[in-house]
């Protein structure tokens, strides 16, 4: 079959794996966006910058403090999440009573600031981050580097863990209730403003965790976030933000489709997600997993 298509299986499975990895990042980032949007009604344009900050935090921990990758995996999301909490306290909370668009504009401005500062400090060429899991294994049809396998496994665990926490635990049920009716939840004695702050911190931490995972796979680059966030927006429009599982499935699926496009029609690989978005908008404007309002 592969010979018929004129494509060697190594290339096909190699691109599939790369697509799966891209999809893992789409899934993690759109998950965070969906959780934040659910409670805060803010589209977090800073999400890409926070992902980039996660990667840089890992780099700084390694270069300046000698903390290895596995330590950064824990410390970086906590640090960046704490910065996110400070941003919510200082800026975002003044906008909740206004139109959602102001949240988008504010977070866009914050993203410009963060990105500009990192570019000034580190240039825009990118910095290398050593692979903590060198080597790999040879399968029948392809070579599987350990680190790539780790990204896929870790991101699946993170996504499913988040899904479980939100859909199956008591804490998650508070969160879902506050998404629907914050006033009622407040009346039951739950501190909703604190919950909003912590949710934002959690979403930002998730972005930073994705950034740490990305650091050894791609270069650590101040622009890595803004390039990704627009694609993630398209993913969110395709999937709809109503469902956690929807965000995960859409993210991985679109990554795989993008990978396949690289094999069969490379010219369209940059645009295929946007084209799918256009088709989905025509057929099902609310998104694949969204509910029309």
């Amino acid at each position: 079959m592969f010979e018929l298509l004129g494509i060697p299986p190594q290339a096909l499975f190699g691109q599939l794996l790369l697509g799966l990895i891209n999809g893992a990042f789409y899934a993690m980032l759109s998950l965070g966006l969906a959780v934040i949007f659910g409670l805060l009604n803010v589209i977090n344009f800073t999400h890409g910058a926070q992902y980039m900050m996660g990667a840089f935090a890992a780099w700084m921990l390694l270069e300046w403090a000698g903390v290895p990758y596995w330590g950064a995996l824990v410390i970086a999301p906590i640090v960046v999440g704490a910065i996110g909490i400070a941003m919510e306290r200082l800026f975002l909370r003044h906008l909740y009573h206004l139109d959602h668009l102001y949240g988008l504009l504010l977070t866009f401005g914050l993203a410009l600031i963060i990105e500009g500062v990192f570019r000034k400090q580190f240039g825009s060429t990118g910095l290398p981050y050593a692979n903590p899991l060198p080597g790999g294994t040879r399968l029948d049809f392809m070579f599987l580097p350990w680190y790539r396998a780790w990204i896929v496994a870790a991101s699946l665990a993170i996504c499913l863990g988040t899904w479980f926490m939100i859909e199956r635990t008591k804490l998650g049920s508070y969160l879902r209730a506050a998404t629907e009716r914050p006033d009622l939840v407040q009346a039951f004695g739950i501190n909703v403003p604190r919950m909003i702050t912590l949710t934002y911190g959690f979403g930002v931490g998730l972005a930073a965790l994705a950034g740490v995972l990305a650091a050894p796979a791609y270069n650590v680059n101040p622009l890595m976030g803004s390039n990704l966030i627009i694609i993630v927006f398209a993913v969110v429009v395709i999937g709809g933000m109503g469902s956690i599982m929807g965000a995960i499935v859409t993210g991985f699926a679109l990554g795989i489709i993008e990978g396949l496009t690289k094999v069969f029609y490379p010219e369209a690989s940059n645009t295929v997600i946007f084209i799918i978005m256009a088709i989905v908008l025509m057929l099902k404007p609310a998104g694949l997993f969204g509910t029309p309002k």
């Binding site: 800026f91 139109d99 946007f274």
Partner: protein, 325 residues
């Protein structure tokens, strides 16, 4: 969605005459301006002011935040650059071609984008603009990273020599005034009143029997066409069409200009464009800090200064009038 917060109260009919006299005054100032200010700088301000006016037509009068207007601005710049440089068209035909192509692009993207509202509309337009950006990176006629350079400035209408900056300035001023009058006429027409009704309360406009989708689409196409006119003119002024013009940063810049000047005000976008372009001119030496400063302005304006310069002035004037009366 409640857009009342984002825009100012609609202007009463008396304001029409006041607006026109302000415009006449501005045009008078603009006519003598090149005696004291470098004309190329003024042309840049006028092109971006027209771009911001076109953007403001959507956010200010229909309540739609487009985060992808660079696709019309930059797309039209490429088209006019190509037809003037490679096909040897005259500049007026080049600008017309850019405007028409931007309108067509606006029709296609508008049909898709108006299917979602509010925050999704912003994300859809941003994503579609990114698609156009990637197209421009790969398409053979755009020149990739170099863009289209050295676009010739031929005489316009076969009469005026555009290689003279002063002569070209008055042509750009005429194009700008035309664009302004189109927008001014639109927002004061019955069509514009329906747009405002959609902005204030869309379900109600639907229940009154208006086909809001068609109104939104027409406003979107008009805004796209005028943004394209601004981009096409800019390409011939600077003899350059490049990837910067179609990038998301450019989309963000026009949002910033309109926000600083005052969303939903008639003259706000012009003031905003003037302020931001002047700032960029003085800060050009600071390199990366320009983006940081733009980000800071975004944050400050959104948190403390949402009406923008013209909006705050109008509110101040209103308070004064109330105190007197």
């Amino acid at each position: 969605m409640n857009n009342a917060a984002i825009t100012l109260t609609s202007q009463p009919a008396i304001a029409k005459n006041r607006d026109l006299s302000i415009l006449a005054m501005l045009v008078c100032i603009a006519i003598v301006a090149p005696l004291v200010i470098y004309p190329v700088f003024l042309m840049k301000v006028l092109c971006f002011a027209l771009f911001a006016l076109a953007f403001n037509l959507l956010i200010g009068y229909v309540g739609l935040l487009s985060f992808g207007h660079a696709m019309f601005f930059g797309g039209a710049a490429y088209i006019s650059g190509h037809v003037v440089k490679v096909w040897g068209w005259s500049p007026e035909l080049g600008i017309l071609a850019g405007t028409v192509c931007a309108a067509l692009l606006g029709l296609v993207t508008g049909v898709l984008a108006i299917r979602r509202q509010g925050i999704y509309f912003a994300m859809v337009t941003l994503a579609l603009a990114q698609m156009v950006f990637f197209f421009c990176v790969q398409a053979p006629f755009t020149g990739g990273e170099d863009g289209i350079q050295a676009i010739p400035r031929r005489p316009i209408l076969g009469l005026f020599d555009l290689s003279n900056d002063y002569a070209f300035y008055y042509v750009v001023l005429a194009i700008f005034t035309f664009g302004f009058l189109v927008i001014w006429r639109t927002i004061h027409s019955p069509f514009g009143q329906v747009l405002k009704a959609i902005r204030e309360n869309e379900p109600r406009a639907i229940s009154l029997g208006y086909r809001v989708e068609q109104y939104k689409l027409l406003a979107f196409v008009l805004s796209a066409a005028l943004a394209g006119m601004a981009g096409a003119t800019k390409a011939i002024v600077f003899q350059l069409a490049s990837l910067t013009d179609v990038s998301w940063q450019m989309s963000g810049e026009v949002v910033l200009m309109t926000l600083v000047g005052g969303m939903g005000t008639v003259f706000g976008p012009i003031v905003g464009a003037g302020v931001i372009i002047t700032m960029q001119n003085y800060l050009a030496g600071f390199g990366e800090w320009v983006l940081v400063i733009q980000g800071v302005i975004f944050v400050v304006v959104v948190l403390a200064f949402r009406k923008g310069i013209v909006g705050e002035l109008q509110a101040w004037w209103q308070r004064r009038q109330n105190q007197k009366g």
